[in-house]
């Protein structure tokens, strides 16, 4: 029998992951800003000796924001949303409580070890899959413990029908598990010999073109299942909750979900256009990238239409502003990606700064905005205090929006400029520019990008300050707010 008394949800694990979201977000963006500045001002490479060069820090930046910031945000929101949509409290099961905490501490220790290993130079040199095998094993354990929490909570649920957000969390779990396992298959050399050499070292199961295919099947879809799927899970929960509006269309959410699941994985080979991968695979990658616009825009349009008739909230509530702009950036990014996957466009765009430009309008505009809005929404409910400052959120919003626009516009120009210069020929058909000419011309754009990093990082610090103040010093609430988050 379902009792009518409101459940007392237990947010202790969600809180822990909220702290690491803020911590890793700050670190990841700080390193990102530093390496952006290094490209404009190379003298900045020499601050930390061998550990401070662009090349050593770049994987630390990507991994800290992907596996540190974003995953923390995903876990924090899961431990919050999961209980609420399944109508069951973590406190009801001692085992799940233990698993949740175990999951967090293993994750935290694993993240520290992983970061140190990258700084020391232990790397498989596969993008977003740099970690060597011992770290991979820790990551598998972390993932399994999340799986136990996820399916454990589902197992004892009161609400029998899984809410849309849960579909996306389940897909995140399965997708990353499959991709990560297959891409990181490797043979440790220490154990394949009589204990020769470094125990950390391993050699990939796949070679050359095959390795490239597996890697970009992973690399593209790690983005899908890390930066898209769980973020869509968040927007499906937090936008209706914050606005008090019902999701516009159930059918559209069905179509978008199953469409996204089916189409996304095919698109990985668009990272390998004009490579030694067979032509038909390249074409498949291109075509499915275009098809991918449908399910992506399906979700985004569903979100925007959810606000139908309530657009006034956009001016009144900064969290709605964050979420609506996040959905809009999602549309921009999922249109830009397919454009870059068209072969003739890719011929110019590939290997240039347009690619990091694309990544960052998605990540800064969509992923980070959505996660910050989610944490702002959760804070008054978890800490039972109102949000510390509304005006600070407003300022942060405009500062960071400006930063994102500066980032992608400067990188669009830089990328297309360089792509065109590489192929420019004079009247006799000789190359017009030496390689270094095409680098020197980019300096002002790199400087603008570094500036945008500073602005965005400042905005994130405002977020962190606002969150910490909310946790510690804000006015206490006597009862849980229903929709709109209270803020001073």
């Amino acid at each position: 029998m379902q009792s009518n008394a409101a459940l007392e949800y237990d947010y202790s694990v969600a809180k822990l992951f909220t702290y690491t979201t803020i911590l890793f977000g700050f670190l990841g963006m700080l390193i990102g800003t530093l390496i952006a500045a290094q490209m404009a001002f190379p003298e900045l490479n020499y601050m930390l000796g061998e550990y401070g060069t662009f090349s050593r820090l770049r994987p630390v930046h990507t991994n800290t924001v992907v596996f540190g910031f974003t995953l923390s945000g995903v876990f924090a929101t899961f431990y919050y949303v999961g209980q609420r949509v399944l109508k069951v409290s973590m406190a009801e099961s001692k085992f799940l409580m233990f698993m949740g905490k175990f999951h967090f501490w293993l994750y935290f220790v694993g993240a520290l070890l992983a970061t140190v290993s990258l700084l020391l130079g232990y790397s498989q040199s596969k993008e977003y899959a740099q970690y060597e095998w011992p770290i991979d094993i820790v990551i598998v354990l972390i993932w399994v413990s999340w799986g136990v929490s996820l399916f454990g909570l589902i197992g004892i649920r009161r609400e029998k029908t899984l809410y849309i957000s849960m579909w996306y969390y389940i897909a995140t779990f399965l997708g990353i598990a499959m991709l990560y396992l297959f891409n990181n298959m490797s043979v440790p050399t220490y154990f394949a010999t009589e204990g020769l050499g470094n125990i950390m070292h391993s050699v990939s199961m796949y070679s050359g073109t095959n390795d490239a295919l597996v890697q970009w099947w992973y690399g593209h879809n790690a983005v899908a299942f890390g930066f898209t799927v769980p973020i869509v899970a968040m927007v499906y929960y937090f936008l209706p909750k914050e606005s008090g509006q019902a999701i516009y269309s159930y059918k559209l959410s069905l179509l978008s979900f199953w469409g996204l699941m089916f189409v996304y994985l095919w698109a990985g080979s668009h990272h390998l256009l004009y490579s030694t991968v067979p032509d038909w695979m390249q074409t498949m990658g291109s075509v499915f990238s275009i098809v991918l616009i449908l399910p992506s825009w399906g979700s985004a349009i569903n979100m925007l239409l959810t606000m139908k008739g309530e657009w006034n909230q956009l001016t009144e509530n900064p969290l709605i502003k964050f979420m609506v702009l996040a959905s809009t950036f999602y549309m921009l990014s999922t249109l830009e990606g397919p454009i870059q996957a068209i072969k003739s466009v890719n011929a110019i765009a590939h290997f240039t700064d347009w690619i990091p430009g694309h990544v960052h309008d998605g990540v800064l505009g969509w992923v980070v905005f959505m996660i910050m809005a989610a944490l702002f929404h959760m804070a008054p409910r978890m800490f039972k205090r109102e949000i510390y400052s509304k005006s600070l959120i407003e300022k942060q919003f405009w500062l960071q929006t400006t930063a994102v626009v500066l980032y992608f516009t400067s990188m669009w120009i830089a990328g297309i400029t360089q792509g065109m210069m590489w192929r420019a020929v004079d009247e006799y058909g000789n190359l017009m520019y030496s390689f270094i000419d095409t680098v020197a011309v980019l300096q002002p754009y790199y400087a603008i990008r570094a500036l945008s990093g500073v602005l965005y990082l400042t905005g994130f610090l405002m977020f962190a300050y606002n969150m910490i103040k909310t946790m510690t010093a804000s006015r206490e609430l006597t009862q849980e707010p229903q929709f709109r988050s209270p803020m001073a």
Partner: protein, 221 residues
Amino acid sequence: MFHWLEKNPFFFSVGVFVVIAFAGLVEILPNFAEASRPVVGLKPYTVLELAGKEVYKKDACIACHSQLIRPFKSETDRYGQVSLSGEYAYDRPFLWGSKRTGPDLHRVGNYRTTDWHENHMWDPKSVVPQSIMPAYKHMFTNIADIETAYAEAVTVKNVFATPYGDEFKGTRAAWEAHKPKVLADAKLITADMKNKDVKDAVEAGNIPEIVALIAYMNRLK
């Protein structure tokens, strides 16, 4: 059907898994055997070159340099013959990269020398005044891990049938027997170098990272 799936998490998860696993099977498997065949005459990396590849991985050269010449005239004019699948058959992992902040390196061995690399890695601006690449002076003092490189050669020989000679065995004795060969290769590189400390280190039996890296760069043709 969808309503039913939403009430049955197990079958829901199975459904999602089938749908997402499908693409990988269709796209990756059919070509797997063919794509792993080497071009005729391709030699496996020597132990010194493998150690150099490790340096390349350790300092993430891949963050700024590609190793993939695309089939455009502008690329073949700049970097040389278009890259072929079979040339990568012994590359574990592949190191194509995804960003060219610096130029492509797939055939850098055709047009750069030991001497050029030595100057460039010590101070890139000394050879390319507008370069934004950092100097990698630590490679002149850090010692390359040739034992691990040897272990890698033995591993790929035993597990993936990469054609190394019979003398490549996973025992310590076999490694000790092979070590002089690696040192001899290193001395061929240092013969063209001028840094005294690097030369002395190799004489004393330690191979600095820069020597291994240059051996690897010279091999890329």
